[in-house]
Symmetry: C2
């Protein structure tokens, strides 16, 4: 569990799944080795940043050679716990929820939406993307071991649902509603606020014109 030598910076941790995916792609393509420069072009992260990120885990590469794809892949598979599947619950089978269920993060992935809940009786009992939709009132009985939830309910239901989730043992929530939910300190919430993302993009477009030569994240 505490395999890490010391704590990895958060910025690095957020890039790990990205690295993993691209290393996986290289592996499928039969590539045997890769340099930080090549990887940099693929994932659009500065090559020095990649080397620094990798170096937090020790010396994964060889000087003058680069990184062995096979080794890198197996290292990240271990580090990202790709061998054990994490079960996820989805709350709110509306527009967004349905899209996620149909997708279900199946490829190259250790996460799977195991069960979905909705308040609308017409949806309950149906199956979307191979996942059964249960009624939200049965919810406490059906999530036993699940620690991670995706929240795609209307925003006015978000805080209340979050509290029920936490009460039932959930400790990580991916919140797609615009509501900023309040949770106890042991619970982790990541907000993905799509309207904000779009507006921020427009703001940048208008106020930070990219002159040639400037790049970004």
């Amino acid at each position: 569990m505490d395999t890490e030598p010391t704590k990895i910076p958060q910025a690095t941790a957020k890039r790990l799944p990205l690295y993993y995916r691209f290393i996986n792609n290289l592996h499928s393509q039969g590539k045997l080795r890769v340099s930080s420069k090549e990887l940099s072009e693929a994932v659009k992260v500065d090559s020095a940043t990649i080397r620094r990120d990798f170096s937090y885990f020790g010396a994964l590469g060889k000087k003058g050679y680069g990184y062995n794809v096979e080794y890198l892949l197996s290292f990240f598979r271990k580090t990202l716990d790709q061998d054990e599947t994490t079960e996820v619950a989805l709350i709110g089978v509306g527009n967004l929820g349905t899209a996620f269920l149909n997708y279900n993060f199946t490829k190259n992935n250790n996460t799977r939406i195991q069960v979905a809940f909705d308040a609308d009786k017409r949806r309950v009992g149906t199956e979307v993307g191979g996942v059964k939709v249960e009624h939200i009132d049965d919810f406490e009985n059906k999530i036993e071991n699940i620690k991670v939830a995706i929240l795609t309910v209307p925003s006015n239901a978000a805080q209340g649902m979050a509290e029920r989730l936490i009460e039932a043992g959930v400790t990580a929530i991916l919140n797609f509603t615009p509501a900023r939910i309040t949770v106890p300190p042991h619970v982790r919430v990541h907000h993905i606020d799509l309207a904000v993302e779009l507006q921020a993009l427009v703001y940048f477009l208008k106020h930070y014109p990219l002159e040639d030569g400037e790049e970004e994240e």
Copy 2:
């Protein structure tokens, strides 16, 4: 256009739409004033950070009083160009694309999806969320003034479509595909990689257990 005194930090710029939304809420609720502390609790951003963010735009508040909601709202409306609507095109009317069309970022918002495109002839001609779906081959004729595109096509079509978009004059892309696209320097791309977000959340859950007292973004 260059109304800003000096360049605002990117981290601040990304929070502006969030502030705007909450100030808007307060205004609808009839609140007349608000302190950085109250706002902090609502948006989950440290109050010092909020004061610092606002201060980039000059002195918006009054000492000992806080901020006048009406004034703040009208200031941000101006700053975020909420009076002119930005037209957006959506490419790829699949699971995700359909969800976005049905939602269409209508509330409190200056962005609107004006037109959608798909390669599948069965979808063309239909209307989703009040937006007409056009065939991707008619695309160059129909986006005239549009500068912003949301990309929700399969990942193997992403790079090619991005190039066509840019060729047609698009300069900002919100990319939901896992592909990291390559674009010329004058084009801005924001990646929203949902699978990565979910995996990162799981990684944090397992490797960065939150002890009581720790909070985060």
